[in-house]
Structures are given as C-alpha cells and as structure tokens.
Homo-oligomer: 212 residues x 4
C-alpha cells in the first residue's frame, strides 16, 4: 500500500523458465481453466487453483500477478485458438448450390468441437469481464476478427449484401447457438444445430431455401 517499489516476485511474463518452471506454469494454466470453467470467475478461489495444480499460493504468485492475470493468460490462449480457426473459414462462394457447403460444414464441425473444448471457460468470460478493460478488449477483438473474416467471405459470395452487418448477424448466431448447446440450455443435437446453421447461412447468402 505504502510501497511503490517493484515487487519481489515478479510474475513470469518473459522470465526464462527451466523445465520445472515450464511444467508448473502449465499445471497452473490447466488447473485455472478447469476451475474457472467449473465455478466461474468470481466463485473460483486462488486456493482452488493451487490445490488443483498441486502447488502453493506462493508459487502461484510467482507465475501470475493475480487471479485476473491468470484468467487473462488463459483467455488469450483460447482467443488465439479461435482467431486461428476464424482465419481458416472457407470461401462461401458457389452457385447457390451445395458446391462449397461441405467445406463450410466441416469448418462448423471444427468450430463446435473447439467450442466444446473451451465452452465452459468461455461462458465465464462475461463474469470476469465486468469492469475490466483489458479482458473486454480481448473479447471484442475476437468478435471483431471473426466478423471481419466472415465479412470477407460474404463480400465475395453475395455482393448485394452489406457484408459487415450480415457477417455480424451470422457470427452472433453461430456463437450463441454453440453457447446454448454447450450450456445445455436447450436440448438440441450439435449435428442438427449444424445443419440449421449451414442452411440459414446458405439461404441468407444465396437465397436458397433450406431443406430439412
């Protein structure tokens, strides 16, 4: 409080780590992912994390400056994975037929799988985000990049549409359905959901009525 001098144990952002250190850090990240997913950001205790990682409080703060810092680190990893996937969105061109549909469906499958892996964590994002600029920015960048990538495909596939807004609507649909499915808020089989998303997307871009 009174202290302004730099803290003793500076958390590892850039510190060189030996094998043992690497291991501990991974254990903490894994434990954090699990605990945040299980309890949510606020209910998660640093104590839960260190217990899950079989280490001590002191060690935790050797690697992360705070609970928030750990969350941010995990969030960044997850966000990076998702951005990578967004960049691999296939073209949505085609004659309005099913030419490229297969690729898009394959991509949606991968998206659902990724969301399945990270969904529990992602659901806690809003919980953590409140009142914090840094975290909000990561989330916003993620949505923005997703929309941007999709907008590029929309522009190419359906020149008559306003690409940014359309992409944004589709991203919202894709993300939110995954969220709800993951959260089991509605009993819908992922495969059925995928069909519908693909159909709605095709219809939106090419005016092709979906077939059940």
């Amino acid at each position: 409080m009174t202290q302004t001098a730099p803290r003793g144990g500076v958390p590892t952002h850039g510190r060189e780590l030996r094998a043992r250190g690497q291991q501990t850090m991974v254990r903490l990240l894994d434990a954090g992912t699990r605990v945040f997913a299980d309890r949510g950001y606020h209910a998660a205790r640093v104590d839960d994390v260190v217990k899950a990682a079989r280490t001590s409080h002191g060690t935790f703060y050797l690697y992360f400056a705070s609970k928030e810092d750990l969350f941010r680190a995990i969030a960044q990893n997850v966000a990076a994975e998702m951005v990578d996937l967004a960049r691999e969105l296939p073209s949505l061109d085609g004659d309005g037929g099913r030419a490229d549909d297969g690729e898009f469906r394959a991509w949606l499958t991968r998206f659902q799988a990724l969301y399945g892996r990270h969904g529990d964590f992602l659901r806690t994002w809003t919980d953590a985000e409140i009142g914090d600029g840094d975290l909000g920015r990561i989330a916003q960048d993620l949505v923005t990049e997703f929309s941007r990538q999709l907008a590029i495909r929309v522009r190419a596939a359906a020149p008559g549409l306003e690409p940014r807004t359309t992409a944004f609507a589709l991203v919202s649909m894709i993300e939110r359905t995954s969220y709800y499915v993951q959260a089991r808020q509605l009993r819908v089989a992922p495969a059925a959901m995928l069909d519908v998303i693909a159909n709605v997307t095709r219809a939106a871009l090419h005016g092709q009525a979906a077939v059940a």
Copy 2:
C-alpha cells in the same frame, strides 16, 4: 432502465405493504436495476444499492432476503416483460414476399427498444447466473419461451423446416446481435441490424434472397 411495477418482488416476510413500504420497495428495485446494470452482479455492493435508494442496510433486508433475492426480483420483472413481447410475435407466414414483413419488423423494433431499456441489466445475467440454479432457470425459461413462440410461427410458415432448431438459431441471432449492439462491441446502427435480421429470417424461412 427504471422499474415501475414491482411484479415479482415479494417482500421478505410476506408482509402486506402500506403506501410508504411500497415506495421504499420501488426505490430499492430501481436502485438495484441501476447498480446491477452499472457494475454487474458481483461488483454491485448492497451498500451501493441502499445508497442509491437513499435508505439503509437494515431496511434493505426488510424487503429482500439477500442480494440475490433482489436480483431475482428484478430479473423476474424483466423476464416477464420479455415473455410478454415474445407472445406478441406476429405470424411469419406469407407468400415469401413482404406481406408480413412489416409486422415482423415492427416487432423487432419493439424488441430492440426493450433490449435497449434492459440490456445493461441483462448483460449482467450471466455474471449472476454462475453456480446458481434458481437464476439459471429464469434465464433458461426465457430463452425457451422465446424459442417456443418463434417455433410456432416457423412451423406455420415453413413446414419443411425443423421448427425448434430453426427457431433456436434465429433467437440466438436476434438476442446476441442486440447484446453486441447494446454493449457497443461493434458499431452497427440498430436500424441496419434490424434490416439484416429481417432479411436473414425471411431467407431462412422462405428462401428469398435478401436485397440490400
């Protein structure tokens, strides 16, 4: 943003309320809505609420059993308003032309307005929800009812489609775009968003390509 009818907010001990008590309760509900919207569920302090309501801690617990109880009361009011709106969804029939489009767009406008009023509060829902069954149920019921109402319209309008899943996808899109627009995560004019949603919906149901 401002609460008027204290529907759902049952006083702690089931007491009958005189005029003065009514007033205090409304002040607390209003204050709670504001404070939760501003800070989120966890960051909101009971102290903030009682200060905003110009009353005391003691009084707070005369009307609500806990902070969560207050949140639930507000959430129920908001959910009820939204369910009311969901039930007024117009038919989505038509010849695939724009016959009923006007009504749907009018409804979307109302939805956006309602979301504009309650959005800040709704965004904190996830924050509060984690780890709590009771609150989760209100949210789930809301989504379920929305989907159910929309599914009814879908069944009538596009018999070839799987109504539940389709409705679910559209609800996701409508809700999430509103969320993002409200949260200003993407700069899109509400009107433009409305156009796109209406078009995507029409395309999804009637295979009519959207026109910018």
Copy 3:
C-alpha cells in the same frame, strides 16, 4: 483490484457519528496509540488493535481506511498537541541573567511531560514514515513549526545570531535528548537534562556560562 467503484464502507472522515460511534472511534484511537507504541508501526497488527479495542476487523475498517490511516490520525493529534505547545514558548529575552529562565524551564518541563506521554508513539514515527509522503509531511511540518517558533524568540533575544539555524540546532537538541531519555538509552534524570538544556540555551543566546 478490478474494482474502481467507491468502496462500500467509507471510513469516517467527516461522517456524522452518534454517541456509540464516537465511543468506538475513541477506543480504536486509544488502542492504536498503545499498540503502535508497544510494537512499532510494522510489527503492530490490525488484529492487535482491534483486540485491544475489543471490536472487530470489520468495525476497524468502518472507521479507518487502513492501518496507515489510523497511524496518520493519531500522528495528527499528537502533532497538533505539540504544535500548540510550541506556540506557547515563552520569550527568551532577558539581561542575560535568569530573568526569563523560569518561564523557559517551566515550558521545558511541559515539553518533557508531553514527550513522556507521547514518546513511545513518537519513537515509532520513523518506522512508519519510510516511503510515505503524507506522514513525512506531518513530521516535517512539526519540526518546521517548532523551529519557526523558536527562531522568533531567538531573533528577539539574540539579534546577532542567525535565528533559523540556531533555532534548528536547539530544537534538535531538545527533541533528541527527550527521545533518548524517553527511550532510556542513557540513564539521565529528566530534571538534570532540563538543567543542561536550559543552560546550553542560555549560553548559546546570551553567552552566559552555565553553572552546574
């Protein structure tokens, strides 16, 4: 950490207090004075203070924002008392004889008494002071005011001397001897110390050799 909103329980600086509150605050100030004096600033635990005041942690933070805040409050009280005393310094004029000596010696007696009452606390000041601007300022103001008051008397009594520096040297002597006597670092009777200080002061101002 994430929180920027004002805290719930704002400490009492200006808050109106009822009788009970007044009592509690006084109990905390008394307890703090005792505990700081006994253990020093760093070794003193908030827990010690609340135990001594027969109250709880929560209550403590209702009245003081932090341990430092409590220290500052006590320090200000003590400083104010000492400044009051400084302002009552008698004139040091005289024919070089003992005309005004009596008054000065009476004042020194009062100073020693005051230092006797607050000395244990004052000794911890340096301990607390490190790295904190606010506290340093109070201490500096105290020394400055003491020197200023004494310089006024010196200017009148011995026009040939540089008043500020001389006053400063005398204040140093007065303060430090009291400190050492209080801390029992040297076994000297307060009365003997007083004689010497009075003699040195007279000699310094009027060139009158002291008589044992």
Copy 4:
C-alpha cells in the same frame, strides 16, 4: 555509501572464504547498504538485495543467516567507523577563545562527511531497531561511546559542568542536526550548521557568546 571492508560480516557457517566468496560477500554488503538506505529496513526485500548484488536467494543465505543478520553486519561496520571518529574528537580546552576551535570544526566537518556517506542507512536504524534487542544495543553503544568520548573532553574543558549530561545534550544536537540536514527536512547549508554547532558548543563550555 559503498561498503568496502566487510568488517563484522561473518559468513553464516563461519566458513573460510576464497577470493570468489569474498567478492560475493562484498557485493551483498554493498547491495544491502544501498537497498536499506533506499527503502528502509522493512520495505527492503531480500529479493531487492540479491538483484542488486546480481546473485540469488540461495546464495544470500550462504552468507547471511537472515535479512536481519545482513543489516546487523552493515550496522556494525558503520558503527565501527563512527566510533573510530568519536575517539578522534580533539580536546575542547582552550582559554575560551578560538584556540582549539579549528580542530573541533575540522572534526565536525569529518563527522558531517561521514554522516553524509552513511546517513541514508543510519536513518533506517530506528526502523529496524524496534522490538529487537541485539540491534538496539549496537545503536545504544554507539551513542554511549560518543557521549563518553565527548564527556572526557567536557570534563577537561569545563570542570564546572556535569560532563555526562552536557556531553549527551551536545551529542544529541550534533547527531540530530546532521540527520535533519541529511534528510533535507530543513534547508540549511551544512557549513552554516557547522558554524552554529561550533558556536553553541563553545558557548556551552566556555560561556563565550557566539558571533554570527
């Protein structure tokens, strides 16, 4: 400010030190002096010390049993230097004129220089001292020896005075003014301060009024 002769700093296990070990120990003593001076005893982190000495925690505890042990080692060195100086106090005899004044003033200059070198460290002494017998003794011994040496000179120079108490008052003045000047609590040029101290001392011993 920089430590050279590691007098007093006994290695933890009484080991004999090779050249490399000597070097490391000196680096730690130097670093400790700097860090304690900068931050004070409590705020100084062992981590700060090892960083400043470009070594590790493990190594630190190879040379010193604890943080306090390091402080004590440094304190002993400083105290020894000051005691050496105290023993070189010149005679304060004289005919009451300025015969020996020059020597005393030269000594004061050396004192000020020494205080200038070690003052930042000395100021933290009180900070560390609280609640610890061992450290307190070093400080007490230092003051005692200073007073003793000065008392010898007083006894010779002014037989009519009570030597111990008078010496004690003068030591207090000399020490405390140096402290304040060093801490820049009052803007006084060291040279002006020296003049005043010499004058007050002469007046106290020989009843010779000071001349500005």
